[in-house]
């Protein structure tokens, strides 16, 4: 009887899992602060064959990707002397004239049954040498994905670092539903396209955190009218409760090897950080302090956990060994520092830093203890690094609405990811690993 009642309650709170629909609302990206001095790249419009036009302009997607990274300056096509689409047509002199250092050419041609063959080549203009060249055959709806892969190859060849164009972002959208709100957990490509709703709820959703293998999200849902921690496989759509103790169950953070979660529970009376071994859900309490301890984040080597605590009177960032030992305060500048997240190399934390009632995304250089404020907007939240450490994605307020924004970790390039309507918050950048997002399994 109790179980039935419980199930009814879950049902009535109207949580839709696996009813993943292609959302019409697309995040549009606006570069709010560009940068001079990116590497000049000529991206020639890709060639085709016959009258049939591909459903995506692959070269345009590549160009937008490279421009957004802030590390490249795509050149204006009106100055192009020639427009090669295959290797034999390339004349390097034409590209030295326009001061291109790299050249990208390619073609998209129809093959049988709605499939397309995409070819591209990347050249070093001054060495007159091909740096990369690939061919793909894909369905029309995969052309954007191929374009992001091409962008990643170009980025890696030219910078020596892994690109993040094929990664995804998870985030929460709050929309008005009459007098109330509805909440959606969505996953989109890193440029905001192809959003998929993986969970809809009438109650708030918080703190999505990607498993290192990119197949699962842990998050907080209030569908039981209190903060309970869930895990959802985004490939199969299956979903389970992982912590539902009395009080707060929140702030999930995956260990780098994916076997453990650090989390916040207040079952003993006040918020403490625990470690859960996922194989058997066994818990180890890591903090023991009457203050608030929350927002754990793992160092990339898995040896340390940084967290927020107000044990000194106001929220500040501390770090400890992953077994809870050797607690040290790491932030001293600023009245309020919270929600830290490590960079991939473990040398920096991005965090929310507040002073005089304004809360900015900031960067803490751990060795020098220098705190670098990255933004000038007053209500920034939830910053996290792109998996290659080059960008920081965070939530902010624009004209009274929640939007996502990103800033390069040197502070020079800024972008705004906007929705047509609703509030966007709680962004989390996926790891490099990419999986196919489920679009239709019921619980």
């Amino acid at each position: 009887m109790k179980a039935v009642k419980y199930l009814m309650r879950i049902f009535l709170t109207a949580v839709l899992v696996g009813h993943a629909s292609l959302a019409s609302a697309i995040l549009t990206i606006e570069i709010t602060q560009g940068v001079d001095g990116g590497l000049p790249v000529a991206i020639v419009p890709f060639g085709g064959a016959g009258k049939e036009r591909p459903p995506q302009d692959v070269a345009a997607v590549v160009e937008a990707d490279l421009a957004r990274s802030g590390r490249f300056t795509p050149l204006d096509k009106k100055y192009f002397v020639s427009r090669p689409t295959d290797d034999k047509q390339v004349v390097f002199k034409d590209w030295r004239i326009v001061k291109a250092e790299a050249l990208v050419i390619g073609s998209v041609k129809p093959v049988a049954q709605g499939r397309w063959q995409v070819e591209f080549r990347l050249y070093d203009v001054y060495k007159e040498k091909q740096l990369a060249g690939y061919s793909y055959v894909v369905a029309g709806d995969r052309l954007r994905a191929v374009a992001h892969q091409i962008s990643d190859i170009i980025y890696e060849k030219l910078t020596g670092e892994q690109g993040v164009f094929s990664t995804r972002i998870a985030y929460v959208i709050r929309e008005s539903a009459g007098k109330r709100f509805s909440y959606k957990l969505q996953i989109a490509d890193s440029d905001g396209y192809n959003p998929v709703t993986v969970l809809s709820s009438a109650e708030p959703l918080m703190s999505p955190a990607w498993a290192p293998d990119g197949t699962r999200l842990a998050y907080v849902s209030f569908e039981q009218r209190r903060p309970v921690l869930y895990m959802q496989n985004v490939v199969t759509g299956s979903r389970s409760r992982i912590a539902e103790f009395n009080g707060i169950n929140s702030a999930p953070a995956w260990s780098p090897d994916g076997t453990k979660l650090a989390l916040t529970l207040s079952r003993d009376g006040n918020p403490e950080i625990y470690m859960m071994r996922l194989s058997d859900k066994s818990l180890t309490r890591l903090t023991k302090h009457p203050a608030i301890d929350t927002e754990p984040t793992w160092s990339p080597d898995g040896k340390e956990i940084a967290f927020t605590s107000d044990r000194g009177g106001r929220p500040q960032i501390y770090r400890m060994r992953a077994d809870g030992g050797n607690v040290q305060r790491v932030t001293f500048e600023g009245e309020y520092n919270a929600r830290a997240s490590y960079s991939a190399d473990g040398k920096m934390l991005t965090l929310v830093s507040g002073a005089q009632g304004r809360y900015h995304a900031a960067l803490l250089h751990l060795q020098s203890a220098v705190l670098q404020v990255l933004t000038d907007t007053p209500l920034d939240e939830s910053p996290s690094f792109a998996p290659n450490g080059r960008m920081i994605l965070y939530a902010t307020d624009r004209g009274g609405r929640g939007v996502l924004a990103s800033v390069s970790s040197d502070g020079r390039v800024r972008q705004l990811l906007k929705l047509q309507e609703g509030d966007v918050r709680e962004p989390a950048w996926s790891p490099f690993n990419r999986s196919t997002i489920n679009q239709g399994v019921s619980p």
Partner: protein, 169 residues
């Protein structure tokens, strides 16, 4: 009936003195933001609520279902303490009534920290009513952090309304 109210009031006066003393004695002063500990202006132990709980004011106080807080604080000031105590008196006299204290925070700062702050606020109110004779089995606390604002603007006026504990019964 009058006798009952009088007894309840006497109980409140005695217990609120005990509350201040107890809370100060058991918590480390430096970081405790809970009831009575660092609340400058609560007039700790000075017979706080005598005037606020006179017969005329009581119904008004019971009509108030929200207790408000200052930024990053869970201290209940004198005005709000009178509201909590009026509800505690009602709950002490009506033993079949169960109550939920729902803690909230304003939007500034981080969401997870605000979730914890909302809980701390709900617990501050819970501690007060327990001292005033409401038993634990009738009380639930829950926090929504900054997730359920009542005022949607992004200014001090809205934030002040959102930093609250809702008394639900």
């Amino acid at each position: 009936m009058n006798k009952k109210i009088l007894l309840t009031l006497l109980g409140i006066a005695a217990l609120s003195l005990a509350a201040c003393g107890g809370s100060e004695a058991t918590k480390p002063g430096v970081e405790d933001k809970s009831v009575g500990a660092d609340a400058a202006g609560t007039g700790a132990g000075t017979g706080v609520n005598g005037q606020a709980l006179d017969a005329a004011g009581k119904a008004d106080l019971l009509a108030k279902r929200r207790v408000y807080f200052t930024f990053d604080s869970s201290a209940v000031d004198e005005e709000n303490r009178a509201i909590v105590e009026a509800h505690a008196a009602y709950l002490a006299a009506n033993k079949n009534v169960k109550v939920v204290f729902e803690g909230h925070a304003d939007e500034r700062g981080s969401r997870e920290y605000n979730l914890a702050l909302g809980e701390r606020r709900a617990q501050a109110v819970e501690r007060m009513v327990k001292v005033l004779g409401v038993t634990q089995d009738r009380i639930k606390t829950v926090t929504y952090g900054e997730e359920k604002p009542v005022a949607m603007d992004h200014n001090e006026g809205a934030w002040a309304l959102n930093r609250r504990v809702e008394i639900i019964y």
